[in-house]
Every structure is written in structure tokens, then in C-alpha cells.
Symmetry: C2
Subunit: 410 residues, 2 copies
Amino acid sequence: MKFFHVKTVAETLEVIAGEFKPNRPPIEVSLIDALDMVLAEDVFSEEQVPHFARSTVDGYAVRARDTYGASDSLPAFLDVTGKIDMGKSAVQPVKEGQAQSIPTGGMVPDGADSVVMIEHVEEVDDLLNVYRQVAPGENVIRAGDDVEKGDRVIAAGQRLRPQDLGVLSAIGKTSVRVYPRPIVAILSTGDEIVPADKKVLSPGEIRDINSITVATAARQCGAHVIYGGIVPDDYESFAKRAKDLFEQSDLLLLSGGSSVGTRDYTEQVMQSLGDPGVLVHGVSIKPGKPTIIAKAGAKPVVGLPGHPASALIIFHLFVAPLIQRLQGQKPAAYVSRISARISRNIASAVGRSDYIRVKLEEREDGLWAVPVFGKSGLISTLVKSDGMVEISANKEGILEGEAVYVHLFQ
Amino acid sequence: MKFFHVKTVAETLEVIAGEFKPNRPPIEVSLIDALDMVLAEDVFSEEQVPHFARSTVDGYAVRARDTYGASDSLPAFLDVTGKIDMGKSAVQPVKEGQAQSIPTGGMVPDGADSVVMIEHVEEVDDLLNVYRQVAPGENVIRAGDDVEKGDRVIAAGQRLRPQDLGVLSAIGKTSVRVYPRPIVAILSTGDEIVPADKKVLSPGEIRDINSITVATAARQCGAHVIYGGIVPDDYESFAKRAKDLFEQSDLLLLSGGSSVGTRDYTEQVMQSLGDPGVLVHGVSIKPGKPTIIAKAGAKPVVGLPGHPASALIIFHLFVAPLIQRLQGQKPAAYVSRISARISRNIASAVGRSDYIRVKLEEREDGLWAVPVFGKSGLISTLVKSDGMVEISANKEGILEGEAVYVHLFQ
């Protein structure tokens, strides 16, 4: 029997970052299927984007020096020698004293280095009066301005957003290598837990809440989900079902009961899945202290607190970053959070991180975070909340009006 | 021919909020499929949650008054008359001077009004020494504490989050009525645009970027997507394809070329789809001024700017709220944004809202928003950005170090 001391939130996040990585090799998927998946390798461009100089306005392609000094009172005069068609190559170059009409997005012909806007010219019988001078490069996107040949357009570890898929399209990539979506299995335990579709409850029974909250939260993180159902508080059946699910998944989540007996089972079952076993046994956090994190082989197993609201808060804090690790996602350069002021004093114990559920209110003087109180077992407290505020372990509390960061629930 | 004056961002958002609502009737879906969909009707509970009083600790169910004054030096003595099993009804009541052992989550028996924690008692041969007094209700969740019979647990218009599905499970709902996901069709136009899978480009050609960026952004908003492909700059084929797609969809997005000729086509095609026709023709915004919003029958049609980065910014500002309207989603009580300081001075024109792409940097003194510059046509500027900062129409610019809100790109 090993002994553990309770870890801080930061220590727990370090364990997650240090111990886990993608379990399965990258796969190749089409761009359309790659949304929100994580790129497994750097992507370099083999082309310039655009691969030709383009006009950014409707107007006339010219040599800038031919327009120098042009003004309303003293226009420059150029010969119009052609017209650029959209999507077509320019046929002839622009020589000294010449201009060619060009649409927005059209290809700037050889010889021309700029485009004068249609608003600043007048064309009379192939003679162009230019009333404003342009500088070299004006109103032109040069070849390679967007992407140069050899540029790394996206780095490995990036979760692919619409704009990322856009730049991949631009360079002609139609598929990319990404990490497969992790498979997350969820098993609820507890003699009092009955399936959510049981119509009439007997005294002492409650419906399974964690299966759906944790499963859907995992889906929001990009995981595929296996619903493991409910096992009674019996070591043999719990251990057997857990082993089956562990073998089918990349991450096993056990939503345990909260009684001492059940917690002991949960820990034993986690140890039984393989070495090195339990890494974190208890976190100095409220709610969610009885969280357990284990590693069996290379795969993570997490024992979540049984109270639904606690389970979901622990999910946000630890399981979401864990799923990101399993997808090879590089940590963001910033924490996504919004600033508000807390609407009342809240006391907290030093040495423990408290997570306060809050509702956001946009008032005349800014955004306020209004605490939603209730025992950690109450799922309704989370339904009424927009996010949570951390009172860090080194603080005794927060004062009314104090600036806080709110971590939004998705 | 109607004449339009350019609208502000706020006026455009008012048009969207005032003119559009769900086109199709609600559907019934299972809870598992309801994640991120929008509830179409208020849900009331027909039950109490929990439907019996539960212990929140391992301990003994007692009558609080029997423990009054108990302390380490002067314990109260109670007879242990039973043991509550998890998930089972309590068999007999707790009478004066009695106690029954109870696990966390167990059903508190009749007569008992509180639970004394196992840490604060000693049981010797069915005699319980109680070393700490408890108050009535202590360590007990009463029937209905989480949800009362008749409570409105979730209001119509709520996008269903994991915790919302959790409370629905708790009250025994296995399916809910939600608005169907809107079908969004996307059609790209432009003689220079070629499919993204074309390997080798001819001079003057560029690959289609907007189809994938706009389609995947629409998916992130919960929409189903129809890819309409690319039509050349020819009124007849453009109008015909647009009409086909309009009939199959709840929202048609036209990603037009940016030349004057193409913009005229786009407007004509939008008018041809039905009355009342164009509602917004140009927005005082940079980038994205040539945005067009029309209504044909009850359905919206949006003409996006052709430049990929502009198109995606306009999507975030106007199309995402429009898709929310089509799903019946009630506006959030707050704007999701994060606070940072801008890393340099940026000038802006009064009377126009500017959207500056920024990259976020977590520095020792807090979060900074570093502008990513580049012409609005460059998709790479969006790839390098984490979000955007608005310089509102009444401002001449922002100064280095000024606090700004960053709207994150998903």
C-alpha cells in the first residue's frame, strides 16, 4: 500500500503534462474532416500564395514612375494598351507610358508595379488621364505576400481552426496528418445509481447524471465516447468492467461513489489495471478533493468525484487538459478567461484552491461575477452558472468588487 | 433600383436580431444528440431531485437535538439501531436517543434530521459516542434541494451544455425538443477561383479558400453545411445555382468576388431570390465594408466579401449571431471576450469600426494583444492571430498600453 499526500492544482497539472502523450500514431484526414483536430506535423508550403501579383482594387496597372507628380490640375497621360481578364494571364507587358485596365484580384502584368484606382482616372478613347500618383507596390499584393515558398504555415500541435484549413487550401493541401480523436470510456459506479431512463425511482435511488455530463464534455474536447454504463459497488464486477473498457479506450474515467468504501474500490481497481498505478490521490481543491489520477502502461485513468457538479469542475480543470495532451495539442500561449468583478465577499482556506461557480451579469459599470451557492452535489448550481472563479491556495478569500478571472463553461 | 446608405455594426446587428428567427419547427432528440443544440421550450420538473433526503458524508443519521452540547470531554451516547444500505430505503425510523450508520449518498431515515460525520464518533458494541454536536439539516441534502417539483430547470433558447443535459437526466427526461440545426449553403463566385484540389495553378488563378473557412466556421456554430462549389462571374449561372441552393437551405452565403462587376452580380442575384430583398448594403467597417444582407421570404442571404480574411471576420461578427437566431438561441447575458493591453498605437477613422487582428502574449505583467498586420486579403494574418480587437466607430484609435477586449477566434 502506497501513501500519498494531497497535491496542489499546479502539481496535478504538471503530472498530466509530464506523464501523458498521444497513444496512437497520426492519421491522414481530408481538410473537411480536420476541423478541431490537432496537426501532427509541421506543414510547409511548396508554393507562393498568391503565385502571381494581384490587384487589390479595380483600376489600371501602371508603372508608378509614370504617375509621379500627377494631380487633378496636372494629370499624367497614359496609353491604354489592354484589359486584364479575371483568372487569366496578362497577355502583354506594360511599357513606359502605358496602362492596362485591371479588376480587383486580376493579375498584374509584367512591367507594371502598381495599380491606380478607377476613382482617380478618366479614360477617353484609349487615353488615360491619371489624377493621382501611386507608389511602387501600391494596391498590389505581390507573389508570396501571403505565403512564401518554404514557409511553415502551421506548426505541429495546432488545433485546426477554420482559418488554418483556409491556408492549407490556399497552398493546395487537401489532406493533413492529425492525431486521432482519443477514445474516452466512462463507467459510473454506485449501488444507488440507476440508468437515467428509469421512469419511477425507488426510495434511495438516483439517476445517473455523470455519464451524460462527462461524456458530452469529453465530446466537446474532441473525443469519441464509449458509455460504460453503471456497475454496482462490488469489486469483482467493477474491476472486470473497468478492464474491458480500459482495453478499448485511450482514457478511462471512473465516476465513483463518494463513500469511503466506494473510494477504496475505485483506487484498487485503478491499481489493478497496471503499473505505475496511482500518481495523484487527492487534490487540495474544493470541490473535488477525492480526485484520483493513475497511469496504467502509457494510458491515463481518472477517478472523478461522485457528486455531479464536482465531477464536471474536475473535468474542466484536469480531464480537458489531459484530452488535449492525448491529442498532441500544444498548450495555448494564454488562458482563455474573462475579467469581471466579484459581487460579494467570499472566504476561503489558505492551502486550498476554491472554485466558485458564478453567473455573469453585464451591468452599467461593467461585468460582474455573481456567486451561485449550493452544495457541491447539486447539478442545478452548474446549470445556473456561466463559469467559475478560482480563489488560489495562497489567498484567504476575495473581497466584493475585486477583479477576478472567470473560466467560462462551454 | 433602391439606394442604401452604409450601416454601422450596431445597426446591422439590430437588423439581424429583428428580421430573422427559426424557419423550421422544433424536433425531438435524445439527450445524447442534444449537446450544443438549442432548447425550443421551457422544461419543468415533475419530480423533486433528490426525491429523498441524502447524506453528504459517511457517518450516523441522528436527531440533532440528541447531540446538543456534545464535545470531546462530554460525548453524547446514542443507541445504534440500524445500518442504511446504499440505494435502499431506510427500513425503520430514528427515534429519540438512536442513530443509524449511513454512507455518503445514503437515504436519511424518518425521524433523523442530520448526519454526524464518522470522524466525530466512536461506535462500541452498538453504543455510539458522539463528540461533536450537529445542527438540524447538517450534512444532509433535503428532498428537492437540487430541483423542486414544478421548477423551470432550463428555459427555451438555452444552448444545451453538459450540465444542462445533466439536470435533464436527473429529472428523468430522456429526450427534449430543440430547434433543428440550420442548413447553411455556401457558394463561391469568381472567374479566378478554382477548386482547392487543383494541383497546378495557371497564371491568374487562385484556389478557393472561403468555401472551407466559412463552411467549417458554420459547423462550429452548429450548422449543417452544403458546399455549393464555384460559379463563374456570369449572371445566369450564378442566379440559377444560388436559387437551387437557397431552396435547399435555411441560410445562403455567397462569397463574392470583390470587383465592381462581381459585386453588382451578387446584389442582383440576392434581389432575384425574393422580397423584401436587400436590407443591408455595406457596413462602415474595416475590413468587410462590401457586406450585403438580404431577406427572401423569411430566409436570410448574406453576400460576404471575397477576401478570405475579411470574409471570416464578417462571419464572426454577423453570420455567427445570425445562425444563433436561426436556432432560436437567446442572446447571452454577456459578451465572451478577454481583456488584454494593446502593444502599440493604432490609428483609426472616426465613423468606422476597425477590427484589428491580434496575437495574445502572456507576459510577466499580464496579457498583451499584439497586432498582426497585413492586407485584408491575406489569410495568413488570421492564421497568426488568436482573436480580434474592435476600435469602435467613435474612436480615433487606441494607444499603446490601453486596455482592450479581445474576441477570440474559436
